[in-house]
Point group: C2
Chain length 181, copies 2
C-alpha cells in the first residue's frame, strides 16, 4: 500500500479510489459520474527520451517515446474530470495498440481491454501539486491544490506506459456514504 | 461494457463499482470501508472438473481444480462484506501462487500484485440471486436479493481463476455524493 503522507485523512472516498485503484480509471469515472467518459487529446507527439525518462522507462537515452496528454470528460459535458499525461516507449507497442494510442481518442484502459493485453499496475507516487496552467484547464482558482498520481502499466515485465493523472482537490470531494451490513 | 439488465438503475455507486471494477476488489473495499480488509477461508479443497466446469475453464474433464470459498471482512469486524468462490486449474498455478492460494488467507488481488502476475479481467455475468444460506452468512433476512458477479482472471491467455463474488443488495446501498468540477 502506497503512503499518501497524511493526505488520506483529508481525501474523500471517491478521490482515494481514483488515486489508489489498480483498475481502469475510465470505468471508475463512468460509475462515479454515472455517464460515459470520453478522451480528448490535447497533445500527441513522438519525443526522444532524455536521461531521466530513459531511466524511468528502462530504455536507452534517445529512444523514441510517445507522449500523449489527454483530458477525460463526460461525453455531454466539456468540463475536465481528469488530466492525464502518458509516456510510452514506441518500440514496446504492438502495431494495433500503437494505432489506438496515437491515432484515436481511446482511453488506455479501454485499449488494454479491447486488445486483451495482460498487465499489472504499480503506483509510483501520489502527491499534491500546484499548477496554475492546469487550474486554468479545470477552471478552478489558481491556488487550489491538485491531487496527482503516477503509475506504470507493466506488460511482459517492461513498463508499457507511465501515466500521471491529475485533478483538483475540489473535484470528487464529497463524501461517500454507505451501509455496511 | 456488461449490461446489468435494468439492475443499474436501482444500484448505488458503491455497488456498481464492486460489480464493474476490473481492479482489485480488496483495494476497493479498503477505500470504501476506510479500513484494512482480510480474508477468512470457509472452504478450501481440490476437486475434479465436471463437464461444465471443464468447459468454463478450458481444461479437460477430471482435471484438478482448487476450489476456495472465502469471506472478505474488515480486520476488526466479524461481519461479512463479500462472499467469494473461486475455481483455479491447479496445473496453471506457479508454485508460489499455489502456496499463497491454498495455504494462506491472502486476497487474490494481493497475491497477483505481490507475485507480479500480469493479467486481465473479463466479467462474464452480473445478476441478482436468492440464496438463504448466504443470507444467513450475511445475517440479513432470507428474502433479500443478493448481487453477484462472475469474472475470469486471465493470464498467459488462459483462465487462471474464475471468481464469483456475492453480497446482499442491502450492503453498500447508500448513495455516493460528490462534486464534479
Amino acid at each position: 500500500m502506497i503512503h499518501m503522507e497524511g493526505l488520506d485523512v483529508k481525501l474523500s472516498k471517491a478521490q482515494r479510489l481514483l488515486l489508489m485503484t489498480d483498475g481502469s480509471v475510465t470505468t471508475l469515472l463512468e460509475v462515479l459520474t454515472g455517464k460515459p467518459v470520453v478522451v480528448t487529446t490535447l497533445l500527441q507527439q513522438v519525443v526522444k527520451a532524455d536521461t531521466d525518462r530513459a531511466v524511468n522507462l528502462d530504455i536507452t537515452e534517445g529512444d523514441s517515446i510517445n507522449y500523449r496528454v489527454v483530458v477525460l470528460m463526460n461525453e455531454d459535458d466539456d468540463r475536465a474530470l481528469i488530466h492525464a499525461e502518458s509516456y510510452t516507449p514506441i518500440a514496446r507497442l504492438q502495431k494495433e495498440f500503437r494505432h489506438d494510442l496515437m491515432k484515436a481518442d481511446i482511453p488506455i484502459g479501454r485499449i488494454l481491454a479491447q486488445r486483451k493485453i495482460e498487465s499489472r499496475r504499480e503506483i509510483r507516487r501520489i502527491e499534491t501539486t500546484l499548477n496554475e496552467e492546469l487550474c486554468d484547464l479545470f477552471n478552478v482558482p489558481r491556488d487550489i491544490p491538485l491531487l496527482s498520481r503516477t503509475y506504470d502499466i507493466i506488460s511482459n515485465c517492461m513498463v508499457l506506459i507511465r501515466i500521471t493523472e491529475t485533478f483538483p482537490s475540489t473535484n470528487f470531494s464529497k463524501k461517500i456514504v454507505m451501509d455496511i451490513p
